[in-house]
């Protein structure tokens, strides 16, 4: 009802498309192994870098693998890692941010400086370092991504908590004998989550992009795993021969990220 009427009109038109895109991606990521698709690894040496055909809907790559099948499977590794990493960053971010605001004093100062420090770190370079030291272990990568992307969440959680702590219902809780932990669990967190949710969803898309970038650079998913970033990297030399090889994974990644961001924007 409030705001620019044109904006709401646009969002009304766009919303079905956004929802459809997200449902499509979730559906595909969950069910790809169950769908009657060609194997992602089977190499057809007789047909390399083929264009779309009835047999291979989106053609084949340089090793003769079915691009359509690899494309539908290609979101699974990044999505899995992004979901785990986002859970880690949301949990730690909210806890650190809220505790920081609740504790106040030197602990708040220390944690705030730590968050500032983390925000200043060059994420991708650090990820490259971690990945080259510890190898392409998905567990370590999720953990690293999760910790690296917690700072913005912690910051939002901290400022939201500070606002909440000044509100009367929190004061009343204190007057009724609630300790810091009870206030954190009962009064702060349920209200923080609502605000932080947007930030968490945005971080999810950044993590998704970061992992795909790592794969593109050869330090995320390892061949022959089908993964969008990796697929782009493997095919970029053949881009002029068969552009679908590069365009298709880019479209998949971009549509997913844009749809999620559009959804949060209009919440």
């Amino acid at each position: 009802m409030l705001g620019n009427p044109l904006a709401s009109l646009r969002s009304q038109r766009i919303k079905p498309l956004v929802l459809f895109t997200i449902v499509f991606h979730v559906f595909v990521a969950l069910l790809a192994p169950l769908l009657p698709l060609a194997s992602t690894d089977a190499q057809d040496s007789g047909s390399l870098l083929q264009g779309p055909s009835l047999e291979h809907w989106l053609g084949t790559d340089s090793l003769g693998r079915d691009v359509f099948s690899r494309l539908l499977h290609g979101g699974r590794p990044s999505l899995l890692i992004a979901v785990i990493a986002t859970l880690i960053s949301a949990l730690t971010g909210i806890v650190i941010g809220s505790l920081s605001a609740l504790a106040g004093g030197w602990l708040d100062d220390a944690l705030s400086r730590l968050i500032d420090f983390m925000l200043a770190l060059p994420t991708l370079i650090l990820l490259l370092l971690i990945s080259s030291f510890f190898g392409q272990d998905p567990v370590i990568l999720s953990l690293a991504l999760g910790l690296m992307y917690l700072a913005p969440i912690a910051r939002v959680a901290r400022s939201t908590t500070q606002t909440l702590l000044a509100r009367d219902f929190v004061r009343v809780a204190r007057l009724q004998g609630a300790g810091n932990l009870a206030i954190l669990g009962g009064e702060v967190l349920p209200n923080v989550w609502r605000v932080v949710f947007t930030e968490v969803t945005m971080q999810f898309t950044w993590i998704l992009l970061a992992f795909s970038s790592l794969s593109f650079l050869g330090l995320g998913a390892s061949p022959p795993t089908p993964e969008w970033g990796l697929m782009i990297a493997e095919s970029r030399s053949y881009m002029t021969l068969n552009p679908i090889l590069v365009i298709a994974p880019i479209l998949m990644l971009a549509s997913l990220v844009l749809a999620i961001q559009a959804l949060v924007d209009h919440e």
Binding site: M1, D168, V172, Q176, G177, A182
Partner: protein, 518 residues
Amino acid sequence: MGVDATSEIVELRGVEVVVRGVREGARPILQSVDFRVAQGESVGVVGGSGSGKSTLLRLIAGVVSQGLYLQGGSVSVFGKSILESSAQEREEMYGKSLALVAQSLGESMTPHLTVLSHFRDTVGSGVANEEVLRSLAEAGLAGEKYLQRYPHQLSGGERQRVLLALALIRSPRLLLLDEPTSALDVSIADEVLKTIKDLQTRHRFALVCVSHDLGVVSQIADRLVVMAHGQIVESGKTAQVLQRPGNGYTQRLVESIPKLDRRVRQAQNNRVETVLESRELTIFRGESTRAIDSLSFEIRKGEVVGIIGESGSGKSSLLSAICGLVPIESGDLRFRRDQDLATTLKRRSPDLLSSIQMVFQNPDDSLNPKCSVARSLGRYTNASREEMVSVLSSVGLDERFLSRQPSQMSGGEKQRVALARALLASPDLLLLDEITSALDVTVQAAVMKTLSNLQRDLGVAMILVSHDIALIASFVDKILVLRNGQLVEQGTSAEIVESPRHEYTRKLVSIARQKSVA
């Protein structure tokens, strides 16, 4: 009353305003409203929240609030249909023939512009300083010093006067005021209203003043229009409406206004046992400002004490210190003679904590928006369902409210729940910080009635803080008058009302008397 009674400058006929996109049959915001203002007439529009009074005022200014639309009827100002006039025609009209002073004092001025710059922006850069000075002086701000001041260097009353001067400098024929005094302290509001009345008599512009406060509009209006649920329920000469209200709602409205000499609770002054004792109490606000300066008083068991004071008088700081939210700088504050309240919240025993409960001013802020009433009531008190139902019924709510969320309740209902939550702790001392100031007058009267019954049944001592001396005087046993952190006067309700000694108290009492006579 007008210069020429036949020349209507505002005429609304059969106006229907509804919320856009709401299904048929929903209640309109304005419903068959006929409203006229003659030249030089001053009309007061009064009504509770949701009565449609602000929508009406905006409509006269040619604005339909976002999300609403005019379904029927016509709005004509100076004989033209203002809603259909072009942007250029409106530009012509605003300022020169029609001026609006909006409610929010803080947002109506640009922080980085001086008073003079505001005038230059409004009237044009060619405006002579003399003209601005004359306009300011008429609004009660004499002296060149005001020209170069920034908004933050002005008090609330001064800001309202600058806005008045800005609105009147081009001698408009119609002035629209939205809650002109809601952000001001009582004594300052009174002075501003006198200035408005004075300017209106002198310049004979037509005036439409919208307020929730019958006392405010009756001070400056020749004619009163009472609105409820989007309809005009009564209209007539101010004195007539006040003395012989013809409509049931108006009657309730008039009756709900607290009167200095009509008690809603019997005073009792025969208690002996002391509950709270303060000796030379000093509380700081920030590093060095004294919010409360060597204050001494005593509250007995079951006694109801009213604290009256304006913003900055330290009344909220005092309540916060009693319940432990704010530390005490020096002096002695004792509960039941043996418990020292100079301790922080964390060091207070659970028993002491539950003995002192507070209800805050803003009903929207006092309940966790994520919790149902049952959860809000039971979380820290561990009350059983039966206890909750019984305490809810004591504040006038029934069992069904247990499952309600804060968003499903009105301000009055939320404040009742907040009161119920405080009562569940079985306090010996209940601190009430302006608990009715955000509520409509009729709702306020109902809450005060509930409070009176509770006090009679439970015998709990209360400190009631308010800026409204009539509200306090009609309810409490003893009154403390605070000004700038100091106690300027204390006495029983009757003493303060009948023979106020301090000059400031006398002023408050006389303003309250004027209002109830008006």
